[in-house]
């Protein structure tokens, strides 16, 4: 093969190597690079250089702080301002559906009212502040700031939840009370909370039913997903 052809092939392969290392080449391109590297083992040193470049580039980027936790609140406020507030479904229909869904999901009575939970955490998700408070319920009362301590882990299923900005502490408290849920962590970045429910995590049917039941309460809950 003429030398200039060798050079152009070498340059072509060299230009593909960064994506070869990140695994972003097509199958045919990957095979082409594999074959070239097998025939030209000296080029393997390039892979080490690229790995170093990748590592240091990643470290540079990871050193940049994350955006502030309130940025999602500002986005939602902006959407409200420009496109109008979000619509909430009828509350009455939720009460009926959550009873139906949860009752079907659990073999034991899970809707236990005051007295069943020692303390119920209440989130006040004010538009300007994401302050997490422990609320006064007929059992005990404690108060925790947004960055406060996590509750001790107990058995159950933990869900990742965000609440509507418009949801009041009273309504959130009532929802948690009725579903036997308690906030064990949060607020996290993006306004997320970990809420623990008293169901076995190894029962996907029950977990799915709980998610569906909670999703019907879109006037209070914005997002819900099982923590994996």
């Amino acid at each position: 093969m003429p030398e200039n052809n060798n050079m152009s092939e070498r340059t072509e392969i060299e230009s593909l190597l960064p994506w070869y290392v990140t695994g972003k080449l097509s199958k045919s391109e990957t095979e082409k690079v594999d074959q070239y590297l097998a025939a030209h083992p000296g080029m393997s040193m390039q892979l080490d250089l690229i790995e170093q470049e990748k590592l240091e580039t990643t470290l540079i980027n990871e050193a940049i702080a994350t955006p502030s936790a309130t940025s999602i609140d500002r986005l939602m406020a902006r959407l409200d301002e420009e496109f109008g507030p979000e619509q909430s479904p009828d509350e009455t229909s939720w009460l009926q559906s959550i009873w139906r869904d949860i009752a079907g999901a659990f073999q034991m009575p899970v809707i236990q009212f005051a007295g069943a939970a020692a303390a119920v955490l209440i989130i006040v998700q004010a538009i300007s502040l994401g302050v997490l408070l422990n609320s006064n319920t007929p059992g005990s009362a404690t108060y925790t700031t947004a960055s406060g301590p996590e509750s001790p882990a107990t058995s159950g299923t933990v869900m990742l939840v965000t609440f509507k900005q418009s949801a009041t502490a009273e309504r959130i408290s009532k929802l948690l009370e009725e579903t036997n849920g308690s906030i064990v962590k949060g607020p996290l970045a993006g306004g997320f909370y970990h809420v623990q429910f008293n169901i076995e995590p190894k029962s996907p049917e029950k977990v799915e039913a709980l998610v569906k039941a909670l999703e019907t309460r879109s006037d209070i809950i914005d997002f819900v997903s099982e923590v994996e």
């Binding site: 990140t22 940025s71 993006g190 997903s225």
Partner: protein, 190 residues
């Protein structure tokens, strides 16, 4: 309300955003805001401006989700919007600086690569030399290595043909070797 999990597909989220589902934009935002923010910080070099641009980007996504045709990956589309927003800010900033006769240079009081090389910290030298690449080169290096975008994805984000992307990254790496050599580190390539 649609069901979203940590594995919900971004395309599905965009479909729901087009139907005006606030939960979908919330999930999409939470999923991508950090990387978009870092991409923007590297472009505009100002954290407050970058944070504002992240919101501008997602407002635009809310506004135009119905126009997403799915021919590219959603993240490619998101990065394209973010980059466009950043370029607008940079153009405006450049005009203002020309008007006011200001310099955009930020003085760097840290050791230069040569001094760091003498101290023997190769990783730090490499980071400093990466920082000395041109904006054009640094952008594609970030997209390849940190954001792990393919050639075609970078082509769409930056708005140049795939061949140009490959050439630009190749030259960026060669330039990095030159800068490293000046700093006293010969890495044996090219």
């Amino acid at each position: 309300m649609a069901t979203y999990t940590t594995t919900t597909d971004d395309k599905y989220l965009l479909e729901q955003i087009a139907k005006r589902d606030r939960n979908a934009i919330r999930v999409l935002f939470t999923r991508h805001q950090v990387k978009v923010y870092r991409f923007l910080v590297r472009l505009v070099k100002n954290e407050a401006v970058a944070e504002e641009l992240v919101n501008e980007t997602f407002v635009e996504i809310w506004r135009c989700a119905a126009n997403f045709e799915g021919r590219s990956a959603p993240t490619t589309w998101i990065f394209s919007i973010a980059r466009f927003k950043a370029l607008n800010v940079l153009r405006k900033r450049s005009d203002e600086e020309l008007d006011e006769g200001k310099s955009a240079n930020i003085e760097d009081y840290s050791d230069n690569p040569e001094v760091t090389a003498m101290k023997g910290n190769k990783a730090e030298v490499l980071q400093q030399c990466l920082g000395k690449l041109s904006e054009e080169h640094r952008e594609v290096i970030d997209l390849v290595y940190y954001h792990e975008k393919s050639i075609n994805e970078i082509s769409e984000i930056v708005g140049v043909p795939p061949g140009t992307v490959k050439t630009r990254v190749f030259h960026a790496r060669k330039q990095l070797s030159v800068i490293l050599q000046r700093a006293g580190l010969d890495r044996g390539w090219p």
